[in-house]
């Protein structure tokens, strides 16, 4: 591994199960190299926060793992299946075991919120209409949306509500891994804190593994078990957030010891 691994806690690799294993990943758009020999492990049951400056390829990494972007080189294993070169059938099966919530929701605009949440159920299960509706409204209630919003169309929702609805859709099939792209960007602090709390709660209750691209220091301190910093085309460091202040790298120092980070840290300790 070329990234510095800081975490030397009692967990050993043998006890932890890597649900996502990225090895030597290289992503390139034209002549611009975004990732080079990037390595990353995501352990079962953790909330991993991916941080990095603008243009360091955080979203590209997420998109590559879920198969929306074909990398130039490297291998990606999700739940033991090679998602890049594995057999088509197995990859399809894996897709039912993860959920993705995109930055601006990416809800289907021609469907109501409930229909959006029911869409994966309809596609992948043989449940009765009644049960699908019940599970759909359960998920909508779980993410803290009022039942009134079931019949609304995405264009009638606020940005924060769209993000919650997107999370409900990502959770529809009870996935093991949830990918979140900037889940709290553009939310007010109260909404963002509530969303953090929601993800934390769901993660505990449903035993989720959460892969979260974020810029929100509050989220990092509040719910992330581990943080991976993308810089210099690779995972520069990964480890617990408390340890990040000790890393000797200008960007990491500035990010984790700046005034905003200190405020977020204090808030995180209060919880």
């Amino acid at each position: 591994m070329d990234g510095t691994v800081l975490q030397q806690t009692s967990d050993t690799d043998a006890q932890r199960e890597a649900v996502i294993r990225v090895r030597n990943l290289t992503n390139q758009f034209g002549s611009q190299v975004v990732h080079q020999n990037l390595n990353l492990d995501v352990w079962r049951g953790e909330v991993l926060g991916i941080v990095g400056g603008s243009g360091t390829g955080k979203s590209v990494l997420l998109r590559t793992i879920v198969g929306l972007n074909k990398p130039a080189a490297g291998s990606i294993e999700v739940l033991g299946v090679d998602v890049l070169n594995g057999p088509e059938q197995e990859r399809r099966r894996i897709e039912k075991r993860w959920g993705v919530a995109f930055q601006d929701g990416a809800l289907f605009s021609s469907l109501t919120v409930l229909q959006n949440v029911m869409a994966p159920l309809r596609e992948h299960t043989g449940l009765s209409e009644k049960l699908m509706q019940a599970l759909g409204s359960l998920k909508i209630s779980l993410v803290g949306l009022p039942q009134l919003s079931c019949e609304k169309f995405p264009s009638e929702l606020s940005g924060g509500m769209r993000k919650r609805a997107a999370l409900a859709r990502a959770l529809a099939l009870d996935p093991e891994i949830v990918f979140l792209d900037e889940p709290t960007a553009g939310l007010d602090p109260i909404g963002a804190a509530a969303y953090d709390e929601l993800i934390g709660e769901l993660q505990h209750a449903l035993g989720l593994t959460v892969f979260m691209v974020t810029h929100d220091l509050d989220s990092l301190y509040a719910i992330c078990n581990r943080v991976a910093v993308l810089a210099e085309k690779r995972v520069l460091v990964e480890g617990r957030i408390e340890e990040m202040t000790k890393v000797d790298h200008p960007w990491v120092q500035e990010y984790f010891t700046g005034p905003r980070a200190r405020a977020a840290q204090e808030k995180g300790h209060d919880r």
């Binding site: 039912k96 509706q133 009134l148 019949e151 009870d174």
Partner: protein
């Protein structure tokens, strides 16, 4: 799976196997077979291999329905994680689950017809308002020509005009060929082959050339206008312009309408010429009318007015296409779907209006006897 055992203490529901959303269809049937009842009910979950929110919902829902009938519920054999999950799900079961939009009744349908009729009237007024606004800005641009966005105008002229020349020329050429060919077979019967020249020149110059060009431009550029301005509307770019003190009409609409005003007559002229060439060629091949004879006959038999009438119509068509396309774009609301709907509406409406206007011109010129 679920098995129900009754003993002296009450009912024991033994739940076993995988209770996962993806494989819940068989379990669901079994759960529906269990009647909720009062008395003591024990849920034994010790044999449950896997549980997620879907499975937890089935259990929690059955428990809830039983409780309503006065049952005492106990859970056994739950792991702490399962217990937490069951608790979270039970807390979040909505009292009245949301429903999908119901199919509409007859009354709703009638109401929708009424709404659409009223909407059509409002739309007409709004479009006329937009036409007025555009003409006002156009007039202002003539008085203050430096306000015209030249870069935008030139790029629109290229997009609308230059790039449309091949398709318009090909269309004109083929129309000429078809007219000559069809005309020849009919006129031969009367020995009046030579009149094929008038047939082609009058029908093309006066009507077909400009009409078909306008239809192609409406489909090609009208749709592009609506789609591009419409997606700007979705991205709030139009609102951003307003807050910066830029007038969207002046910045977006005027360059497009002016580009059409300049280019549509040119495209019409290209179509006219291509049709005459195509017609002349076909007459030569099919009827032995030499190009020289064709041109002489054209000069003698076809008045310049036929050509002028075609050209006079061009700017009117240009304004109709431009204004409808931009007005439709301004009506885009919210979603990407709306952009698609408005683009379709824009093309259909502008083609219809072009044809309707052409009919009006026919009557007008007939009354003037030219």
């Amino acid at each position: 799976m679920i098995h129900s055992d009754s003993d002296a203490d009450g009912v024991c529901l033994r739940i076993s196997g995988e209770m996962l959303t993806q494989s819940l269809d068989t379990v669901e049937q079994a759960f529906h077979a269990v009647q909720p009842q009062g008395g003591n009910i024990t849920f034994d979950l010790s044999k449950v291999e896997a549980l997620d929110t879907g499975g937890a919902w089935l259990i929690a829902d059955l428990a809830r329905r039983s409780r309503k009938l006065g049952a005492e519920i106990r859970f056994e054999g739950l792991s702490p994680a399962q217990s937490a999950l069951l608790g979270t799900v039970a807390e979040n079961i909505p009292d009245e689950p949301g429903t999908e939009v119901q199919p509409r009744s007859f009354v709703d349908w009638v109401a929708a017809v009424g709404e659409r009729t009223a909407g059509a009237w409002k739309d007409t007024l709004s479009m006329l308002g937009f036409l007025g606004l555009t003409l006002h800005r156009l007039a202002r641009t003539i008085v203050m020509p430096w306000r015209l966005r030249q870069a935008a105008l030139v790029s629109q002229m290229e997009e609308v005009g230059l790039k449309a020349i091949p398709i318009v020329a090909l269309m004109g050429f083929l129309i000429g060929v078809v007219l000559a060919f069809q005309g020849a077979t009919q006129l031969k019967q009367f020995g009046a082959e030579i009149f094929v020249v008038e047939l082609i020149s009058i029908s093309v110059l006066r009507e077909l050339g400009i009409l078909l060009t306008a239809i192609i431009v409406a489909g090609r550029s009208g749709s592009a206008f609506t789609a591009s301005i419409g997606s700007m509307k979705v991205q709030e770019e139009i609102d951003a312009m307003r807050t910066l003190g830029l007038d969207p009409i002046e910045v977006l609409v005027i360059p497009r309408v002016v580009a059409l005003l300049i280019m549509l007559p040119i495209l019409g002229f290209v179509a006219d010429m291509a049709a005459l060439i195509g017609g002349g060629l076909m007459s030569w091949i099919d009827l032995d009318i030499s190009p020289g004879m064709f041109v002489t006959r054209l000069k003698e038999g076809t008045g310049i007015w036929h050509f002028a009438i075609g050209m006079i119509k061009a700017p009117f068509f240009a304004v109709v296409i431009g204004v409808i396309a931009c007005w439709q774009a301004m009506q885009v609301k919210g979603s990407a779907q709306s952009v698609g709907q408005r683009t379709t509406a824009s093309v259909v409406q502008s083609i219809f209006m072009v044809i309707a206007l052409d009919a009006l011109f026919s009557i007008f010129f007939a009354t003037l006897e030219i």
